[in-house]
Symmetry: C2
Subunit: 585 residues, 2 copies
């Protein structure tokens, strides 16, 4: 293709809102352009890369047994109501109504729609397993769309959904999808880290994310420092265990209230008492429309909202209001504790707002690391007072303890229970889940088993973000001059810079262009009437693997200049040497 047919869309300026390299460089190099908040146009080169990734994903999905279909992007509300997710998907799910006031979601995911398809044709266990996938648009109404293609609101995903007669079959497909994903990312030249992941409101029993390590990643990954152990997990999912929380010797003194005046935070009270934050009981209180959730954890740690959320079964929640805290504890915020709390787990508490006069169910959750401990300091549920010498089992009792803490670098690996965890940040590009029977049960999908009895299939689901794969490939592969594409993703293999002046030189360039194409090499010929410097800059910026330059010098020497975009290495080659090099012979 020639620049005179397929123009460059390069720009001299960075987009004003670009905070990350992939956004900045993909926009400058003319691959993408913003059309609205979180909405991107794919320009010709961007569209070509995007389609190459789609094709790689399709080939590997097919190779690993996927069956491609294509579902409507807008999915009827009634399907989401059947699964119960119409109400819990919250504002991230874009919705609309048609002229008859019938509701639809702009699908952020397609479990319901795909289960609906499955129940329309699955009749017998003999049809299982089946792994249906599609590659299409998805919508997510992000609060803060940013980082260009990494966090946008309309994007292309490959989403697959498998249906199985039993767990062994699900596991086999799950393992195949792991292989497919490894193959896909390898072909894209992308280094990913598979980590254990939380399943969120997708339901399910096991899941793994394919992460790209990146400082701008929104996820925190915890990796075991012992490579032999190999534990890798999303912080959301990482079980917190620590050598530092051995049981305390029982402190002889009786429990007693003490006046802490205006001091509320653990740090302030710890300074007063001389105690360590780890011996405090920290209370964190959330609420949603129906529930109040009180979590007690050791004072020196952070609550994991994801663990709380999964435990409490909430989605749209917020930190409890002052009124709600007063209703639960009888005290100002800052004095909540597990002793002398007038309500117990499961009680209905009258709250004033929101909505006014409503009763909400109280849930109380204790972290594992408070169980069996004593000599603790906690809020007294009494304004200006805390309690000391608090002992679990005496002053309050934990019947069921949970993992509620965010693990961090330096904590003990929950797999080998020896080495410490290290931390890195990552961007999710793929995700595989064992969904279990959540959707098949709710949507009444059954098949007949070998005995003619109804069997509810178990399910898996498997996603890859196409635009994110493209963006993270650039996060991992760029330099100050521009993009650096892997040959499998690059719009063209060769950027041919023509410095031709006059007919002889132009004829030489045209002949080389034709020859390379005849050898199956994809070439972009920069035949613009521009200065050499402009062409070289654009060649580096758009980042095809090979830059070939032809001009007067070439005709004189018979040697063609080849530059490798990634390394900057230069070669002077004959035509046949050049062809061999470009073909990787």
């Amino acid at each position: 293709m020639r620049a005179s047919q397929l123009p460059l869309f390069t720009s001299k300026n960075d987009p004003s809102d670009a905070q990350v390299a992939s956004h900045r460089l993909l926009a400058r190099a003319g691959y993408i352009r913003k059309q609205g908040s979180g909405l991107y146009i794919y320009l010709p080169f961007g569209d070509m890369v995007h389609r190459k990734i789609v094709e790689i994903v399709r080939e590997e999905m097919n190779r690993f047994g996927g069956v491609e279909v294509s579902l409507p992007v807008i999915t009827p509300a009634e399907l989401w109501q059947e699964s119960g997710r119409w109400d819990i998907m919250g504002k991230e799910m874009m919705r609309m109504h048609d002229r008859h006031e019938v509701g639809y979601a702009l699908g952020p995911t397609h479990e319901e729609a795909m289960t609906d398809l499955a129940r329309s044709f699955l009749q017998s266990y003999k049809q299982l397993p089946i792994n249906l996938y599609q590659i299409g648009k998805k919508y997510r109404d992000e609060i803060r769309p940013r980082y260009g293609l990494i966090r946008c609101r309309e994007f292309t995903m490959k989403d697959a959904y498998s249906f199985h007669a039993d767990d062994a079959s699900l596991d086999a497909t799950y393992q195949k999808m792991r292989e497919a994903y490894r193959a896909i990312f390898e072909r894209c030249g992308l280094k990913t880290i598979p980590v254990e992941a939380d399943s969120g409101n997708m339901g399910g029993s096991g899941s793994e994310e394919f992460m790209v390590a990146s400082q701008i990643g929104e996820e925190t990954l915890l990796l075991c420092s012992d490579e032999a152990c190999g534990y890798r997990s999303n912080q959301e999912k990482t079980e917190f265990i620590s050598a530092n929380y051995g049981l305390q010797p029982i402190v002889s003194g009786a429990i007693e209230d003490f006046d802490t005046g205006e001091l509320k935070t653990i740090e302030e009270v710890a300074q007063l008492t001389g105690g360590a934050p780890r011996d405090f009981i920290k209370a964190v209180i959330y609420e949603d429309a129906a529930k109040i959730i009180v979590c007690f954890i050791p004072g020196d740690r952070e609550l994991s909202e994801v663990k709380m959320k999964n435990l409490a079964g909430v989605n749209d929640y917020w930190l409890a209001s002052e009124e709600t805290i007063k209703a639960v504890t009888g005290a100002e915020p800052g004095y909540a504790g597990p002793v002398d709390l007038k309500y117990k787990d499961g009680d209905a508490v009258s709250v004033t707002a929101p909505p006014t006069g409503h009763k909400k169910t109280l849930r109380i959750f204790f972290d594992n690391h408070l169980k069996g401990r004593s000599g603790l300091i906690a809020g007294a549920n009494r304004t200006h007072f805390h309690k000391k010498n608090v002992a679990e089992g005496r002053d309050f009792t934990i019947t069921e303890a949970h993992d509620l803490i965010n693990a961090h670098a330096g904590d003990i690996c929950p797999q080998c229970k020896k080495a410490e965890l290290t931390e890195t940040r990552g961007i999710e590009v793929g995700h595989i889940f064992k969904l279990g029977k959540k959707y098949s049960e709710k949507m009444k999908l059954t098949v007949l088993d070998p005995n003619g009895k109804p069997l509810t299939p178990t399910m898996g689901c498997y996603g890859i973000g196409v635009g994110r794969t493209m963006a993270t490939a650039i996060e991992q592969n760029h330099d100050e001059r521009g993009l650096v594409w892997h040959k499998n993703l690059s719009p063209f293999l060769v950027y041919l810079v023509s410095l031709a002046k006059g007919d002889a030189e132009t004829a030489f360039v045209d002949k080389l262009y034709a020859t390379l194409q005849a050898h199956g090499i994809s070439v972009y010929l920069d035949d613009r009437d521009e200065r050499a410097g402009v062409k070289f800059n654009d060649a580096e910026l758009v980042g095809f693997p090979f830059i070939v330059t032809v001009g007067k010098k070439t005709l004189e020497s018979g040697k063609i200049e080849l530059k490798l975009r990634r390394s900057g290495e230069k070669f002077e080659l004959s035509e046949s040497e050049l062809i061999a090099k470009l073909r990787g012979d």
Copy 2:
């Protein structure tokens, strides 16, 4: 591919709502499945055909100079407000609001979005012409989605938008697109009829539709019966001319009112007076939120709503209410006429509803075929009265006459002005428009001309419905046994029916399957454990061009059975003969 890997989704039952062959057969053959009103799932074979059409469209668009991009499906309301179409697109345009209450359209078309892209990079006339296209989802909230893929609410379109420095350049690209469309439909094996078309609210000066003749078509096409003339037009666009409306001799009598009692319709009054309906003046009155539109046409013809709509510049309009008619004429409905009407064109008329107390602008339009005529009968704007001996130029005056009538079969061809028109029905599969400067002006797209002065580019736009192309290919190619695909669209070239029993026969089938694939022939191997009859029926139903059957008989005779799906012709061939036949050698 084997049926054991890629299952069939055939069904024994027709969908209950299927009224047309393509809907019925595509559903039964397992190519599509409905998921909501006007929302279709593409099953594996359907998705394969769809992608083949997309690829043909892409190749031809590229060959004819198209530059592929991909725009977001949801387009910000502010772009539609800039062009003024946010308000006039009506309920057919699906809309939504994000979490910040910002409005978006689920794009039914992308003139605004593409012009927005163009103004972001077009700076100089040197960048023109450029023809940007995309292949993606479109949305249209049809009042009555029906006919399966022919009239659905979510569908894939190729839409192209070209930008030009002058009309000659636009015309050149328009002609290229005609060629591209001819090539596309030819490769799809689809017979199309290009017709002159109305440009509707797209703006523009010239347009042509590619229609597939079909009894279920929603468009009426008028074709000149003289092939040498070759005039072909959508009825919406066809100028009405007739030999039957010569001027009447002036009837001597003076104009006078006469009592027609409860008789209101032209037929009733004609029976009373003995006059012919063609000598009546028919009044048809519409209104929208801002206007009342009175159209006067000859009494024996039908008003063209499209012509009225374009003339009046309205989109969401309705037949005028009784109150509105009374406000305009001072009489009950049924007595409107051009004489003694108390308002004139452009007057503001107070109407009671809707909305109450509002004033609407009156527009009065006369059809060409009333100009200069006399001896006419018209409503008297007085309940129970009509007027006779009405003469244009004496009793009322037409300053500007318009073409307001729907032409029909039997009318004179407006091109050769000799032969009669014939009528057929058609389905639109493609449409090319000369848009002119409507969008570039409204959205302030300018480039610098050779003298450094701003130039507003003129535009064209060009659409093809991918799903409709697929459905109409079936409307034209099916029989009572099922689908009949053109080889360029068929999911596979060959349906290989295996009747193998035992290892030797299975090995023979597997070897043939491998051999055909090695020769570049795409094969679907029906290796199911089903009766021969089921396999033959499915082979006919899914409609691949070639059906090859292998069983015990094949091993005995050494001859492989080949059946041509379209003609039913059968052959007994050796393997090498079969391969030659399938490859079309």
